[in-house]
């Protein structure tokens, strides 16, 4: 029983990370039709700058953890908005070229991070509480899982509120459904593009700082390794669907944990298998619109 609880909560924690990456990917794809390969780089840069911030302020305090999260969110948002404004926008409506540009950016930035911070992982520290465990029904759960889950839920609620109650949110929801009709109502939908990139980048940035606590280190490969699973989550959940991304994040991560434990470390393979099955049965994903 305690093993099941541990696997479940660890799975939820990992799912929280997947969601923080996949939510932005899904929104960006839903609105713009762009698959963003550079999303992992937003995350990695945020993780590094977040860690630099925490280290400068003294890594053990809660203040520096929240400062790191703030720096991570801002870093991700600015990096993402800049990417949209300077690279993606020049290739308006040319989706393949847009994907290619993000591929180039991902390759170039990961190499640059290698050059700046070195290829080896840098081990990090946080407030003492995060390294401790809490006992739930006999399972000793590492505390950082709770932080991950709580922050991911806050981000989910934040994005939902933003989409529901702001003008930009209205434009984004309409644009996901029918982008050209939004422009035909006299709205410059490109401004919404920059906004979704910034939101997605901020979520990924927060995810980067949290991922460094979950794994215990930062490395230039951090974003890329999470990105592949976030892609899978996005496709399983249905491209463009936020609830789909949330549900699929949890399903994928929990499946991964259980398969790793009970089926001899086959978690990654089971996830790919799940993807194949979902696509065979529902090619548009769990919450995707049928096209």
């Amino acid at each position: 029983m305690s093993t099941v609880i541990l696997l479940l909560i660890t799975g939820l924690g990992l799912g929280a990370l997947y969601f923080l990456v996949a939510s932005g990917l899904s929104l960006i794809y839903g609105l713009m039709g762009v698959l963003n390969f550079a999303h992992g780089s937003f995350l990695t840069l945020a993780a590094f700058l977040g860690w630099e911030t925490a280290r400068a302020l003294g890594a053990d305090s809660w203040v520096s953890l929240f400062a790191a999260l703030g720096v991570g969110a801002v870093t991700g948002a600015l990096f993402a908005a800049g990417t949209e404004f300077l690279l993606i926008r020049r290739l308006y409506e040319r989706h393949i070229e847009q994907v290619l540009v993000t591929v180039g950016l991902a390759l170039a930035t990961v190499a640059l991070f290698d050059g700046i911070w070195g290829t080896d992982p840098q081990f990090i520290r946080g407030p003492q509480w995060l390294a401790e465990t809490t006992e739930i029904l006999g399972a000793r759960i590492p505390n950082n899982r709770f932080l991950l889950i709580a922050v991911a839920v806050l981000v989910l609620v934040g994005i939902v509120l933003f989409l529901r109650f702001t003008r930009f949110g209205l434009v984004i929801r309409a644009g996901v459904e029918n982008r050209s009709m939004v422009t035909a109502l006299g709205i410059d939908v490109r401004r919404a593009f920059t906004v979704v990139f910034a939101i997605g980048g901020a979520a990924a940035g927060i995810g980067g700082v949290l991922a460094s606590h979950y794994f215990g280190y930062v490395s230039p490969q951090l974003g890329g390794s999470l990105l592949i699973f976030a892609f899978i989550v996005t496709v399983i959940g249905g491209l463009g669907s936020l609830p789909g991304a949330a549900l699929a994040s949890v399903v994928v991560a929990v499946l991964q944990q259980f398969a790793n434990f009970y089926l001899a470390g086959t978690g990654d393979l089971m996830v790919v298998l799940l993807l194949a099955v979902v696509l065979l049965l529902r090619p548009s994903g769990l919450f995707g619109r049928r096209t």
Binding site: V99, V101, L107, D114, G115, F231, V235, V272
Partner: protein
Amino acid sequence: MSTIRTTLGRLVARPLVKWLLGGALVAFVAVLPLIDLVVPGVLPGSTYTPGTLQLLALSLIFAALALSYHVLFGITGLLSFGHALYFAVGAYGLGVILERTGLSLLPAIGLTLVGALVVATLLGAVSLRVSGISFAMVTLAFAQAGSVLIRRNPDVTGGEEGLGLATEQVPDFLVGVVDTRNLFWVALAVLVLVFLAVRWFERSRAGHVAAAVRENELRVRVLGLPPFPAKLVAFVIGSVLAAISGMLYLLLQSGVTPRAVSADFTLTILVIVVLGGVGSRWGAVIGAVVYTLLDQRLTALAGSDAIAGLPPVLRVPLSEPLFILGTLFILVVLFLPGGIVGLAGRVARRRTAEDARDRLEETT
């Protein structure tokens, strides 16, 4: 002068002349190991030295691999993010069979080809149920699964360390460092065959349907042509050709590492094809040669004293070849649609236009 140029241009366009030029180019590349050609700044040493031949052979293998990706992306419009998987199937498949079964090289190659054919047909049939970005994701996921399998089974694949070539199974003339030139010739021959195979596919009926699918899948359906078989054929041909490149890579490098199945490696193939010019066979070949040489030169540059002496702001980016290549790639996508071949085409067209003007001026 201008009339000579136009005559030349018209001559090049004729099929027989094309074949002769192609043959001459192949013949020239084939004699490189026998002559002492030094190209400072481009090649690390004279063309007969094993190190340089190794690099050139590698660029030929990447050219064949890029051509195989051209079948998917350039002809059929399938943006796959898992092409490295089939390269790895070739390299690892051949490596494992040689090590485990004691078969000699040719039967082992045959067996690997059959394996690649089966894997490509199965995975292709599943992946092609979706299209566009979902297809890209699924192929990425399958390649990721392949990568996990290879890394997690070290007793079969050598894990992170990689797999060495079981040299006792391989004919002697393909093994030693002094025999690099034999491998170079094999690589050249394979590249020529791959090139001709791709050319044949492009001109076949299935190739035409595949190209029509790229332009407008809906219209192909409306015309009553099922797009799925054409796409699957293209996928399988591209994958098997990639596996052939992978086998050659194993022989040349005397081994293979899990990097061959990584997402980064697929992205490298994509970069090569886009750099050379999407949709062009020669683009794939030129892109591969340029990329391989550039990568080697930039790596050499990164380790040079000139770079070490620079301030960090310049030193850090310049000592990362992939940073420079990635940036170059972004610039090509933004400003050079059609890649190197597209640029050459534009320059040629401008020349022809100038010639036409010259002639007009001469006659008036």
